[in-house]
Structures are given as structure tokens and as C-alpha cells.
Symmetry: C2
Subunit: 190 residues, 2 copies
């Protein structure tokens, strides 16, 4: 074809498939999200999904691409570091639903849980390391437990009290916790 234009017809369907895949994977998890359903959402033939992405697993790998986009918080005063972090997470999760895809699928899918560990080890931990008082990996892990636990309860389990909290309430409650995990002196063993 030697098509010089940047917009090929196939790119639009590729994108449609990816969008439908993210939605289905995020809503149903890996096993219950069928290629046939994804194709129906994108209004195309199931065979095209395989044609463009090779297999269900490769489609998932593409749909689970995620950049946590943590900025470097060098100019943030130490006192409000926790609040800033929590606010960033809230904003990042409201944007697209890739993290919900990961959270929903990481529980049963090996690829997804590896991706999740990769995000922790490659994106979260290195950034937080700069702000941690000591034992940076443990502190980053503790932050992950609180932030992922909140996402789990709000977006997946949908516990009513957590769903109904306003964003600034969340920041006010979780901010100090995150801050203490990063900067509080390690607690003495009782």
C-alpha cells in the first residue's frame, strides 16, 4: 500500500480492541473476559483480535501496560509528602482504569502479578527510596499495602464507607499514614 498517511485504517481498530480489552479485563478479570466479548464490544470479528494481537495473553500484556507516573517530589516539603503522594495516586487511578485491570487480574494471572511486582520494584520503590528514612524497601512496601488496600476496598470490593469518602477525606486520613511509613523512625520492637 505504501500509505504515507499516519492514520491507517487498521490503527483505529487496533485501538478499539485495546480499549474494549481494558474495559472487559478491568470489569471481569482475565478468565471471564472472553475474546468474543471484547470483539463484540469493539464491533469487530473475534478473529481480528487474534490477527492484531496474536493471542489472548499478548492482548492482555498490551492492555496491562501501566506507568504510575510518579514525579520526583524534591521540592515538596517533608511535612506534606504523604498528602501529596496520596493525592497523586487518587488522580492517577481516576484517569484511566489500567490499574483496576491490574488489580483485578493480578490475583489470578501470573503475567499480571509479575507486572505488578515490576511496577513496585521499578517505579514505586526507587522513587520512594529518596524519601525514606531507612530500610527503604520495607517502607515502600508498607506504602504499597495501604494504597493498594485502599484501591481494593474502594474499586473492587466496593465497601460502602470507603466508596463514599470524598477525595480530600481520603487524603487527610491516608496522608499521615503514608508519611509515617516513609519518615517515622522505625518502631521499637515491644
Amino acid at each position: 500500500m505504501l500509505c504515507g498517511m499516519a492514520e491507517k485504517k487498521s490503527d483505529r481498530t487496533r485501538a478499539a480492541i485495546l480499549a474494549a480489552a481494558r474495559e472487559r479485563f478491568g470489569a471481569d478479570g482475565y478468565e471471564r473476559a472472553t475474546i468474543r466479548a471484547i470483539a463484540a464490544d469493539a464491533a469487530i470479528d473475534p478473529a481480528m483480535v487474534i490477527r492484531y494481537y496474536g493471542s489472548k495473553e499478548k492482548l492482555f500484556a498490551a492492555a496491562a501496560e501501566f506507568d504510575i507516573r510518579l514525579p520526583v517530589f524534591t521540592d515538596v516539603p517533608l511535612a506534606s509528602l504523604g498528602e501529596t503522594l496520596v493525592r497523586h495516586f487518587l488522580g492517577r487511578w481516576g484517569g484511566d482504569d489500567t490499574l483496576r485491570v491490574l488489580l483485578r487480574t493480578a490475583v489470578t494471572n501470573e503475567v499480571a502479578v509479575d507486572r505488578m511486582r515490576g511496577i513496585f520494584a521499578g517505579q514505586l520503590a526507587p522513587t520512594l527510596r529518596a524519601h525514606a528514612l531507612d530500610r527503604p524497601d520495607v517502607r515502600a512496601g508498607l506504602v504499597a499495602t495501604q494504597m493498594l488496600g485502599f484501591a481494593l476496598c474502594r474499586y473492587i470490593l466496593e465497601l460502602p464507607p470507603i466508596v463514599h469518602m470524598r477525595d480530600d477525606e481520603v487524603v487527610s486520613w491516608l496522608g499521615p499514614t503514608v508519611a509515617s511509613y516513609l519518615t517515622a523512625p522505625a518502631p521499637s520492637q515491644a
Copy 2:
């Protein structure tokens, strides 16, 4: 048969099925845990599973029975309430793997997520209500985010720093957080 003994032959297989089901559901999640695999683990015929439990969904409902067994912490000094709670959770999760079953399945299975909400609303929230300063449901919800997030990171995602923490370290770190969620004055909105 009119068998007067309490131990019928069928009870042993029923229990074997249930044990195998809990293990498989906990390891693989609802969809990937097949009745055939559960039957193989219990060394019986797949048909028996249906014979005894009716369907896969009913088997799951039986396997996901869970009592969080929260004691009433009336005699616990307020200062160590957080530590006591965290310690109780750690002990409760090490015992059997029913909670791991729920955590793995609640993410994709409607029955499981309902069960999870029921545990929160029927067991956790009522007990914590007695110790919360105000807004008891929000405080109980916050405790749930931290405890479930920890379980997620340790048992499901297996983030290395969290997996390797000793139990008393966990208590020392999470105890103050849980305590603050229950008894600290509600943070002022910035």
C-alpha cells in the same frame, strides 16, 4: 441404613472435597479452579462433587464460609488496641486459608465479594464500632483497607519486602496505623 454412628462414610468424602476445594479456590481463584481438579485432589470422581454439593457455585459457597472470630476487646488497654488487632489478624490468617480463598475469589466472583462485604458489615464493623471515637463505619473501613492491603501484598502479590517481614515487625508498623484509624481525632481538612 439407620446408622447410629456419628461417622458415616460419606462425611469423610464430603470433608475431603471441601478441603481440596478450599485449597484449589485459594490457589487458583474461582474460574481456574475446576471441579475436575478438585476431585482429583480429593481422589474421587468429579461426579461426586456435584452429588454432594449440587453445583460448583454451591461448593464455593460452602468453601468460603469464614468466621473472622474477633473477640471483644473490652479489657485491652486503648494504647495497645492497634497492636492487639493486628496480631489477631495475623494469627487468624495463618490458621486456615479461608481468607485467602475469599481474597483471591472476591475479585472476580460476585458471591465472594458479597461474602466479603458481609464479613465487613457483620463482623468487623460492629466489633470496631465499640472502640471508634466517631464515624465508626469510616474508621472500620480504614482499618479494612490497611489489613486487606497487607494481606494482598503478602499472600497474593507476594511483594518481597512484605513477605519477608517478621510478624512482630508487622505488628509494630501496622499497629499504630490501625490505632490511629480507630482512636485518633478525625483529621481536619486542610
